[in-house]
Subunit: 498 residues, 2 copies
């Protein structure tokens, strides 16, 4: 593999203008991108370390990281930022990243706001985890159309009628105690999680759980493993904490722990979805679970277990959570009610190792402090009175039916171009495209046809082995699924190679 | 003033043991504290910079900062950490800091959790902003006993009855649009804030607003002004972002902008409570307001305006918010409903300069993402239907009566030892102690008598000019105020010099 001499690379870049309105990282990103697109930087050429680049350019490392993070996200550069990354062999089309927000409003200000390095860095990787009025096939949307609104309203009304002063004062930082107890009782039975209520901390979302954990546990520059592909929000949380992100490949048996140890044995934290990997949909194998726990224990590292949709898995007994196998107190387990009940609820939780509870609350104490008490109380009743278990039973059946609708619609409308992968359940499925087809181009064409179909390759930091679309089906009824699939079929045919 | 030669200081420290269970910053803190208490480090001696100390000790700067932050918090060292701090002339008694949480539970683990530097740092300064069942005279507690619970429950029931799918999906990251509009309409009339609804972002608490802003705007090592004395939570938010905190003195005219500019013209951000300084209770003068805005504009710095209790001020027209005077888009205005309605609500907001809205949402997007929609909708109705304005009118009258009760009770029970300062309103007052009396000792004695009376000196990073107690009165009825004052009187007499 060719290595780009530092001077040559730097010379290729446009001169950075520190007085321009455009932030430096954006200028750098554009400069490198143009150098790649024009062929001045050839495919496969190695990128020098961010430290050396920052030195030569006379800018902060944050600036370089932000620029290259964006280049990696868009597929111009592959490999982990800052360690052996190189110019991609297959260049992406110059199109908007589907995980990015649309550009700012019309009120764009004349004066560029001066942000912190991490603030600037996050501008490049921000994502939109969900939207009001989602259209098919947005991912991560539960079957809100089937949520028992009246039952929930009845429970809320009962709580409001009995509201006392206790529910109006500050609540405990870790959460409403009866809710913490209801959560561990449920997790013990459903997920094999072994913990006391004292280890539960209630937060607003799985995303917030990751973000707080990353800040508590990672110093800037610390290495964090991330599954590749992965949920962009996890990358955001780790990036915000200043972590050096090492993408570790996922295969049919889940995260390759062996590869992780080979790539970055010094990792301080590993972010994993063992039950149902997002977006690949695979399950982490039993041997790898043991290997991951052993690595964490011997390296004093932490495991962030995101169990975001395990409640939707069809298997009679999904594999026990990693947390339940952990003897050494290395696992932080994350679950959320925003995906099982409704996204606007904003209640999720962590189950922490005992020695992290107090430290965690210190970080929470300088932020949002605690979740709204009344909402927590209503949720407690929903759990404790058996409604949650009933609801999830119904939802598993419903989601299986919707998945089957998706498979049937794809087979009918686009049998030649889209093959829906069978999964054990969850909220989304991958639709494989023919090898060689560009999934980002397909995603843009779908968007034009009014259908959300995220490109699988957009979730990769490294190389995506096969083009595909990530299709959320759980939140949409028969008519929506069938009509959207017709439009998606048309879109795919419009971009398919002849 | 004597300066401690670096070598001498380092030699005085106990040898740090990197393999001990006790964290390094804690070992360093204990070593320096013992050196001070034993007289080996003399009063007035200058402390070398954290950078030099870190180098000589072979530890990270975080470790040194964490240790000295704690020493400053406890009064062993005075002045800003890292810039001209010195051993205090008057040493504190070795007692627990009243703003600190009680030590961890009985489940204290055998193995010390390995945290990030900022995680460790926050362990030392964590605070408890409020408690369930607060006793007199906890500060920051609104008159929850007089909150119109039934009205609120009625509005909630109406919302729950009409709940549609829209309110169940993800809401906009910036908050529920009708609530953003109701907030700007209220602020325009009540506080002279000039903004569009598009500049409002709804968050969980004023504390969260500070924390998100600090991370967005400050790089580790950046200088931030903080009022001295100040709310410990603000210090926590800035510390968590890695800021170098420069305490700027507050006098009867509020923050001394002149001193701030002399101490740290390069400040990137200034945290201020212009309407009603916490805890001093003073108002920032008109000339200083202009000077502060001019400094921020010319130095490209940000002003974090915390308007936490202005709704409770008695004056017919409290001074317009700083935000309303800002022509250059430098002010981030923070307000909260947790102090005007009830703490368990968890709804607060920022009004941002236009060019910060999108960048702010990127930071919010990797965290809690958005506030619960239904709660926001109920609050919207409370505001839009005029209940909020009615409620605040009632609360201002009620709090004035409670302040008068506090003054009368103090005059009756402890006329010789406690003089309640007259303020323009708010939720708390300062009770001055006789010069020379130790307010931390008084606070501990009060705690033993079952009364919360925070030591004024505990809110200072520099020297507290006069001992006092910070007494929250708004949340407590006549009986509670009078009975607590009797017990406080006994406690003060038990520690008063004869």
């Amino acid at each position: 593999m060719l290595a780009a001499p530092l001077g040559e690379l730097v010379d290729l870049l446009i001169a950075l203008d520190t007085r321009a309105d455009e932030p430096l990282h954006r200028q750098l990103y554009r400069g490198v991108r143009e150098a790649i697109r024009s062929g001045r930087l050839r495919p496969g050429v190695r990128i020098p370390s961010t430290r050396r680049l920052a030195q030569h350019l006379g800018v902060s490392r944050w600036t370089v990281l932000a620029a290259f993070d964006q280049l990696v996200a868009e597929g111009y550069v592959v490999g982990a930022v800052g360690s052996g990354s190189r110019v991609a062999f297959e260049l992406p089309d110059p199109m908007p990243d589907p995980v990015e927000l649309p550009p700012a409003t019309t009120d764009v200000p004349a004066r560029q706001a001066r942000l912190s390095g991490r603030g600037r860095l996050l501008q490049g990787i921000r994502h939109r985890p969900g939207v009001p009025y989602p259209k098919p096939f947005w991912t991560g949307i539960p079957p809100v159309d089937e949520f028992p609104v009246r039952l929930w309203a009845r429970l809320a009304a009962r709580r409001y009628r009995r509201l006392g002063q206790t529910e109006l004062y500050h609540g405990p930082a870790a959460g409403y105690q009866p809710l913490r107890e209801a959560i561990v009782a449920h997790l013990r039975a459903a997920r094999g999680v072994r913990a006391s209520a004292g280890q539960v901390v209630v937060v607003a979302s799985a995303q917030e759980a990751m973000e707080l954990a990353a800040r508590l546990l990672l110093d800037p520059g610390d290495t964090a493993w991330i599954e590749d592909p992965s949920w962009p929000g996890a990358r955001g949380a780790l990036t915000g904490a200043g972590a050096r992100i090492v993408p570790v490949p996922v295969d049919s048996d889940g995260l390759s722990v062996e590869r992780g140890i080979a790539l970055a044995p010094e990792g301080r934290l590993a972010y994993v979805c063992p039950s149902h990997q997002y977006p690949a949909g695979v399950t982490l194998g039993a041997e790898r679970r043991q290997a991951l726990l052993a690595w964490a224990d011997s390296h004093d590292a932490w495991i962030l277990e995101d169990d975001y949709d395990s409640e939707y898995l069809h298997a009679k007994r999904p594999l026990t959570a990693l947390q339940g196998l952990d003897q050494a107190g290395r696992v932080l387990y994350i679950g959320t009610f925003n995906k099982t009940l409704f996204p606007a609820l904003r209640l999720a939780y962590l189950v922490l190792p005992e020695n992290l509870v107090e430290p965690f609350l210190a970080v929470r104490g300088i932020g949002g402090q605690h979740a709204p008490t009344i909402d927590q109380a209503v949720l407690t009743d929903f759990l404790a009175e058996g409604h949650f278990a009933n609801h999830m039973r119904r939802m598993r059946t419903l989601c299986r039916a919707r998945r089957d609708l998706l498979i049937a619609a794809a087979a009918r409308e686009v049998p030649d171009l889209l093959e829906i992968a069978r999964t054990d359940g969850g909220l989304h499925a991958i639709g494989w495209l023919p090898p060689g087809m560009d999934d980002r181009q397909a995603s843009v064409a779908a968007e034009r046809a009014g259908v959300r179909a995220a490109a699988l390759s957009a979730y990769y930091l490294g190389t995506c082995p096969r083009p595909g679309l990530v299709l959320g089906y759980a939140g949409f009824g028969r008519h929506q699924i069938e009509s959207a699939m017709r439009r998606l079929g048309g879109a795919l045919r419009s971009v398919a190679p002849r």
